[in-house]
């Protein structure tokens, strides 16, 4: 895929490709600030997310984890008064630059939410929804995409005989995997997951975690989770956020998960992950 295809027109500066920085970095924030009106929600975040890895964002409630996640595909644009400054790059391109095609951006950076939210339509149509919106009409092509996406989401075997049934008729864990299949159907590069297991039972949770591990061979995944053990189990890198005195979310520590959970550098991280505050 063309590096600059998220731009609406081809007249934008192509030279940006040259300074895309570290080749293995898929997403990058530099001194990123997020405001909701006058409220400084997330302050001065600098970090980079590696390609084909799972990055977990953890922290106490209200520390800005989800807000930060939504900066990566401009979901906060939908909130009146939200604004972002600093640099946010996807494949070396500033996604907050004028001319960025937000629909194309969100196709390449898909999102899975806390509560499974299948559309009130058949399992098949749920998965085919995105490709159809992007102009694919050929039935055979759609069949292939639906099967491949459901396979990748580890759901195919469970639903292949009932593709015509409502997406709302299957279990919560299956619905969440259906939502993941729906994201995969438009062939994204990054999947943002906002507490994808918080509404699921432990077995369904472990299935999703296992799926994430498989998907991370192909996709870059960023997950927000309340569940520290989940972050420890699934992620390669962990970012710990908490609020400062002004109630803004700040990045306290970012590093390899194995280090953050065995030997955190910051006392605040230590206190949080050992359950002594937060």
């Amino acid at each position: 895929m063309n590096m600059n295809s998220i731009f609406k027109s081809s007249t934008d500066d192509n030279s940006r490709q040259a300074d895309s920085g570290n080749a293995s970095s898929k997403l990058r924030m530099q001194h990123m600030n997020l405001y909701y009106g006058s409220f400084h929600a997330v302050k001065d975040i600098t970090l980079q997310v590696n390609t084909s890895s799972i990055t977990a964002i953890i922290g106490p409630s209200g520390c800005g984890k989800s807000s930060m996640l939504r900066v990566f595909n401009r979901m906060n644009d939908l909130i009146p008064g939200a604004s972002v400054d600093g640099l946010v790059e996807f494949d070396g391109i500033n996604i907050y630059e004028p001319g960025v095609d937000v629909v194309e951006l969100r196709k390449r950076i898909g999102m899975v939410f806390q509560k499974p939210n299948p559309f009130p339509m058949s399992i098949y149509d749920n998965v085919a929804f995105g490709p159809r919106r992007h102009g694919i009409r050929n039935r055979r092509a759609l069949d292939e995409i639906v099967e491949k996406s459901l396979m990748q989401a580890a759901l195919w075997d469970e639903v292949k005989d009932k593709l015509g049934q409502s997406g709302l008729s299957i279990s919560g864990g299956q619905q969440q995997r259906l939502c993941i299949a729906r994201v995969l159907a438009v062939e994204p590069e990054v999947i943002l997951m906002d507490e994808p297991c918080s509404a699921l039972d432990p077995i369904a949770t472990l299935k999703i975690e296992d799926l994430m591990r498989t998907l991370s061979e192909t996709y870059t995944i960023v997950i927000v989770t309340h569940n520290m053990q989940q972050a420890a189990r699934v992620s390669d890198m962990t970012a710990f956020l908490m609020v400062d005195d002004g109630h803004s979310g700040v990045l306290v520590e970012y590093g390899p998960t194995s280090e953050v959970f065995t030997n955190p550098r910051d006392k605040r991280t230590e206190d949080y992950i050992t359950g002594r505050f937060g």
């Binding site: 520290m228 959970f261 065995t262 030997n263 955190p264 230590e270 992950i273 050992t274 359950g275 002594r276």
Partner: protein
């Protein structure tokens, strides 16, 4: 915030101290029994090793239970991993003391080859190292742990001295070879115990810093 959990972690460390003191006593008394030809005491030490082994299993079980039920992280996890290793070393030091007691029983009432001076000294140094290592563990004191490792050299030197002295005695009078060899075994048990203590000190450094490093390189 996690009072019960904190209590469990503390009691786990207290139990390690208790086991450390059981082992320390065993080391000192094993050489005391040898020196005084006290076979009753030696037999008590042999029987007492069962208690040390049982203590080790009890603490190990507590560790496993805490990991399974509380998902300890960061320094808590390091403490538990360190304890699991320290238990093995303490248990082995207990075995070395038991070994000395068995040698004492074996020697029985044979005439002595020499007055025992350096062996009790080795035992005292080893016991002191063990006490200090336990102290450094509770206080997360890396500096003290390093000093304990330095002390190992003194035990190594005593070992060397005992070994050479006994070699001379054997060379002069081959009739002493059996009895003198058994004393070399005793010295060797003490020397190995001191080495085990340096392993404990490495675990202390791991708890405190998160890094594994070889700080106790023994000559033997």
């Amino acid at each position: 915030m996690r009072k019960n959990y904190d209590r469990s972690l503390k009691s786990l460390q207290d139990e390690v101290l208790v086991m450390g003191s059981m082992v320390e006593k065993s080391v000192l008394r094993s050489v005391e029994a040898l020196k005084n030809r006290d076979l009753d005491l030696a037999n008590q030490i042999i029987a007492g090793d069962q208690d040390i082994n049982q203590k080790r299993f009890d603490i190990e079980e507590q560790c496993v239970e805490l990991i399974a039920t509380q998902q300890p992280m960061a320094v808590d996890l390091r403490v538990i991993v360190a304890i699991l290793n320290i238990l093995v070393d303490l248990e082995r030091i207990g075995d070395h003391a038991e070994g000395i007691a068995k040698i004492t029983v074996m020697i029985g009432n044979e005439p002595p080859v020499k007055p025992l001076i350096d062996l009790p000294r080795m035992a005292e140094r080893t016991a002191q190292m063990l006490r200090d290592s336990m102290d450094s563990f509770i206080r997360r004191d890396v500096e003290l742990a390093k000093r304990v490792c330095d002390d190992d050299e003194e035990v190594d030197n005593l070992y060397n001295q005992v070994f050479r002295e006994l070699l001379l005695i054997m060379a002069e009078d081959p009739k002493t070879i059996g009895r003198a060899t058994r004393l070399i075994w005793v010295a060797h048990n003490l020397e190995r115990s001191a080495d085990r203590i340096t392993n404990i000190c490495e675990r202390v450094a791991f708890v405190a810093t998160g890094h594994m490093e070889d700080i106790g390189a023994s000559k033997y």
